[in-house]
Homo-oligomer: 350 residues x 4
Amino acid sequence: MPGNTFGKLFRITTWGESHGKGVGVVVDGCPPHIPLDESIIQPVMDQRRPGKSIASTRRREPDKAIILSGVFEGMTTGTPILIMLHNKDADSSAYKPHADIFRPGHGDITYQAKYGMRDWRGGGRASARETAARVAGGAVAKALLEREDIRVSAYTMELGGIRAKNRDGEEVGKNMFCCPDADAAGRMETRVAEVRKMGDSVGGIVEILASGVPQGLGDPVFDKLDAELAKALMSIGAVKGVEIGAGFEAAGMRGSENNDPITPEGFATNHAGGILAGISNGDEIVMRVGVKPIPSIAIEQQTIDRLGNPATISTKGRHDVSAIPRINGICEAMVCLVLADHLLRQRAIS
Amino acid sequence: MPGNTFGKLFRITTWGESHGKGVGVVVDGCPPHIPLDESIIQPVMDQRRPGKSIASTRRREPDKAIILSGVFEGMTTGTPILIMLHNKDADSSAYKPHADIFRPGHGDITYQAKYGMRDWRGGGRASARETAARVAGGAVAKALLEREDIRVSAYTMELGGIRAKNRDGEEVGKNMFCCPDADAAGRMETRVAEVRKMGDSVGGIVEILASGVPQGLGDPVFDKLDAELAKALMSIGAVKGVEIGAGFEAAGMRGSENNDPITPEGFATNHAGGILAGISNGDEIVMRVGVKPIPSIAIEQQTIDRLGNPATISTKGRHDVSAIPRINGICEAMVCLVLADHLLRQRAIS
Amino acid sequence: MPGNTFGKLFRITTWGESHGKGVGVVVDGCPPHIPLDESIIQPVMDQRRPGKSIASTRRREPDKAIILSGVFEGMTTGTPILIMLHNKDADSSAYKPHADIFRPGHGDITYQAKYGMRDWRGGGRASARETAARVAGGAVAKALLEREDIRVSAYTMELGGIRAKNRDGEEVGKNMFCCPDADAAGRMETRVAEVRKMGDSVGGIVEILASGVPQGLGDPVFDKLDAELAKALMSIGAVKGVEIGAGFEAAGMRGSENNDPITPEGFATNHAGGILAGISNGDEIVMRVGVKPIPSIAIEQQTIDRLGNPATISTKGRHDVSAIPRINGICEAMVCLVLADHLLRQRAIS
Amino acid sequence: MPGNTFGKLFRITTWGESHGKGVGVVVDGCPPHIPLDESIIQPVMDQRRPGKSIASTRRREPDKAIILSGVFEGMTTGTPILIMLHNKDADSSAYKPHADIFRPGHGDITYQAKYGMRDWRGGGRASARETAARVAGGAVAKALLEREDIRVSAYTMELGGIRAKNRDGEEVGKNMFCCPDADAAGRMETRVAEVRKMGDSVGGIVEILASGVPQGLGDPVFDKLDAELAKALMSIGAVKGVEIGAGFEAAGMRGSENNDPITPEGFATNHAGGILAGISNGDEIVMRVGVKPIPSIAIEQQTIDRLGNPATISTKGRHDVSAIPRINGICEAMVCLVLADHLLRQRAIS
């Protein structure tokens, strides 16, 4: 059944394949009177653009966002907003030889099983190219949230086994890995260069912060804010784990350690990560995702073809060594979408 | 907005508070001709019943499931199934003195912020009592899945910092912590007794396995099977982290290590945890959740009252030392609900 | 797939069969702080109760509404409200002889086709008994609307071919057919008595008015207010036609006749029925439904049994001669549900 | 909240304004392996194209449908299908003088009330131009239904007060009004010419037939097939009434007349219009809609401007004299969408 729509009140529907004519998003439910035009969306798109980091692919999509509806005289009108991103630099020739071979770690085998066919060009719908549409939709959500002084930011806490030791917000924009620790960023650079030479890839951990989120967002018992965030983040292809606040570390703590004492000035600690019983508590919302290494690697791998015969594959296409830091902007987009949706949801009962 | 419905085709809606007249679930979308009566639901309910483990509360609810609709002559009819669980052993008197005090780590403060009021008796809707309705709904999903030979099981991998070293399925039913490692189970018992004496509580990690899941379940790009499972599991109150397959460990692996080679006989490894690109690959689905320690502890904690004045609280009510192992059955229920839903979703396009 | 949930933000889910243990409704999404208890719901239930009109069945259900959740200290809490109606006076014996015979005009044959089975007792889920749960849910919506001074009322414009000539609101409560025309009501009484003697049944037309509806409700282009009302009303078993404002009469008018001139004081006429382009225009919303005659009649009818063999049937059970006026309260309930939903929907973007 | 999505399993989301860059539709949930390309969609689009009838506008949009995603090698892939229709012949200059004046019978006043602003160019989102996207989406549904031998057709039963006396399917394609009665069609032509000269417009009645629909479609109790059809049809701008089978005429019949006797060969009559208790009974589904006259007329009308001052308006733009017969294809599209959705819905439980 349809799985390409996300959100209830602030809702996006995305479409498009890696090597088709383009990808895009319909944003439905955005309130009117939000200032919006391409100049607001484009900077958000540019942040995720490949080619900004040595960890990233060499495919160069200008990712020029074009608004085709829903905006009039520089403002949203309350009607659906279509944002189009044409595919320009899609070269399917590299995929042709492997059209019938299932790439390990990719959705080739499962798309074939589910649909009985697949668009093999560049991974088709399962390509990371799909996420450009989410980022475009997320940019609209971001514009809505900024009017409420809600800010979402993602940064790299770990890459290729190298972990950031501190969280210096200023530093994030200064290095190519969006890492809040200058020293770690330097070692990440070395690590990524090594791995690239090996024809291999690496994973890592991204932390996402949402600040300025008012108390009261989230709808128990199934649409809890943390449940919705978990779905949003886990729906990103490379993500294999999601945690909120202390996350898995909380599993090893005692109640007296993990509980956040409440004072007249606010919470003394934030192990909860800004969410209690599925509802935002006014504190910063803290999330982390575990990102698997890019499955497309130059190293030869064992696999099968569509008929079940053994085969080997070595991916020589234009691919990233890591989904990080490109994935950071996608995480931000998904979190923005959840928060915009729940902001509107909460208005309905207030 | 409404947040008490879960699932699209196989769908539950739950209701009820800890100290109200009862809790219950409407199961809508269950296909007809599934054998069902109370004798099928009750054993699933009994598994989660408090009082089976020394980690569990002393509140004794018989949790007698009563089917009020949707079943005729021992079979589901395709119409909505209402399962009712009366509250029998609800004693609000212990909560009265703290009606205006926000318990740390609980939803008291966020429910108050969201709704401007709250049913303070036993945590109201935010109580773990709510989950009994999920388990009842999950029992119907389980009955549906069993006809397709899909089995879901949860067991305790870590409790109070003690980690299971091996996964002996036989062992799970033999110890009170549902731990697949007899030795670890013994040490868990000691640990829980210690912590209880300290008036404190512990968290842990539960692993859930789904076997027999056919290829092809999950709807890209937002309703991916892992995204839906993440939401389902994170919607359980005490869960702070969810991972699939290698999960956060994948973040530290290289592509060549993490990718599961494909052979004519199937996948050589299962780091993916049975899901590729959001679609089940036919392998076992492996999930883990990080469970925070129970926030209600006897140790005195710092907090505020409804008016913002400083206060202290020491919870003397009947509470578990850990949500584990009671939470295990709730995890199973949520996974069953997701799988039943996606089983039906996949039929629609097949 | 699930079809027993109605509404997006103010949402009901109903369950229960005619001769099962009861019927009921979960209301999810109702804002907190709405005064509610059984004394508010019961009068609305009593209005629809059979046995108030000579057109109505002799089955006497007390229809005592019991709230099991979602209300605390006389106020809604924002959590789901379960309202239970036990079946007391259900006698299946009259249905037993016809368990395998498809009653013409009923859902027996289609339920069998759809589900491959059916609960034949009293029509099972297809019974008008189901609508009691809608009325209970509608009573909650009504309580919400009344705080905004929105009022919904239904009255009988035609019964057994006899048409009301005028609309005297005062008169509606004075006659047993809820007809706004005393003279017509008298003739309806005669007509119904005749038809009852013939062992036959009659249909009619109900008009529903909603006043005090603010401008701006309704969500183009598919969830237009009139589209949602049409669905709501057509989902009532006996309804075969729905019209808004001038309705089918508009088909015979010219634009210059049908257009409502706009003046600084408001619309000069109301052919639109209070809705323009799917959005409420602040004027009274006017709807009419065509109600088919009750299909259960004493006159012998030609049919088949479950195996396809010819059969005859003459329904001797306790049945109404007309769904009117009992259906009037159901129409009111459905309209209240749509308006409550859209009231909340509009708040989200305001 | 979002109102631009229709359907649950076979789902469309539309976007676009009359005088923006284009309109379009995302079709999500279409099963894979359905042959599809522009050559299948274009003929369906061409049928609705303005300029084919003397009742129609002189605006000439080529309405060239372009598929941007979801199709690979001439087949649907199971991923979302974007169909784009560029606006070519949009001339806003005629609307400029009336940018601040509310046209009677249009959504100008209600869009302004709802959103606090509006795109006044050509009616913006409220324009009939929006329906082109529905027709494109409906063409995909049609392709799906044809594989199951389900056919949907609409024809004109009444126009400008002239009623078709017989239903000659062959005749429908032969006259410019799609009327199944050659004689009536001739008189309609005269009538339309007269009314055009008067600067006025007319309404009418369209009947829609769906044949080959299997038994069992429709989901009680709220998503009944007739309820969903009523919503679908009433969501078309000009429709003010919807009826199924005997419709409002059933209101005047007795049960013994209205009930369709069942024989071993099928139903003896079809007053039910192919639907019993909200589920298709295998017979032809018969629907009728009442279409209001086009509100844009040359005759001067009384209205107000955005500030509430009295004003007059005479619409000189390029407009139809009647929404019929262009609306016929839109009715077909909406019915196809409902049937495709319910076909998939029924598979899920079978």
